[in-house]
Symmetry: C2
Subunit: 149 residues, 2 copies
């Protein structure tokens, strides 16, 4: 089964700020979408991510290892996303907090998966920018990549 | 086997300019790396892409369908890349020239593959920018994503 994979390195002395950006409403709404609600810092918590009038995702937190790993499962959203898992592995490498990203469980490598792969890369660059500078570019100010946005 | 997939949409009235940016030295050197040599507009042609002091890739053109499809095979470069195929499918959708990108034939989903996936997304955004505005951001002025560059 095909996966979406990415790697970014965030210039910061520890993975703690990255972990915070992945588990708090304040953090998530500053790099993914400014319309984020729910609970990201507790296993079993559910997060609601919404993107203007284009719907969004309800995501359950299924693993949390502070400073090391965050794993989510998609509960509601576009059909292709339901049941997929989104993982962020964190590790420190010198001056960089490395994020290894995997969005797995896609049934088929549909055109929408191609779109989501590119979109994830740019959102992870938004996460990098947020942690490094204090400013990300979450939806609705996200970088548009194609006619699906 | 895992693949790297991406989708970008380029605001332009036909895929011809995108095709040109994928098959000419002038085009390739304006979005991927400014150190590009060889022949990209003939099946069987070999292109040399070099990235500063970090080496690069020798790539053979194996399919060309003007305005529709470009397929390459990697001949020389990092071990993980040798033998892999890089494809660009083009199609027009309204005001957008859509590029469906696939880098296939990876043996394993190694950490370097995660890096290359993110890097490809940003280079494809550079291709989009080149065709839309006349300016890309090829190496060495490419956007850095992590400690591997």
């Amino acid at each position: 089964m095909p996966d979406i994979l990415h790697r970014v390195g965030i210039k910061t002395s520890s993975p703690d700020n990255t972990y915070k950006a992945l588990t708090t409403i304040e953090g998530l709404s500053a790099w993914w979408t400014n319309n984020t609600q729910g609970q990201g810092d507790t296993v079993g918590g559910v997060l609601q991510f919404r993107f203007g009038d284009r719907g969004g995702f309800d995501i359950k937190v299924i693993e949390l290892h502070p400073g090391r790993r965050v794993l989510w499962q998609v509960m509601e959203g576009p059909e292709e996303w339901i049941g997929t898992r989104i993982g962020f592995e964190l590790k420190q490498d010198g001056d960089f907090s490395i994020v290894l990203f995997k969005h797995e469980g896609w049934k088929e490598a549909v055109e929408f998966m191609h779109h989501c792969s590119t979109k994830w890369a740019l959102f992870l660059m938004s996460l990098k920018s947020l942690v490094e500078t204090g400013n990300g570019h979450p939806s609705p100010n996200d970088i548009k990549i194609d006619n699906w946005n």
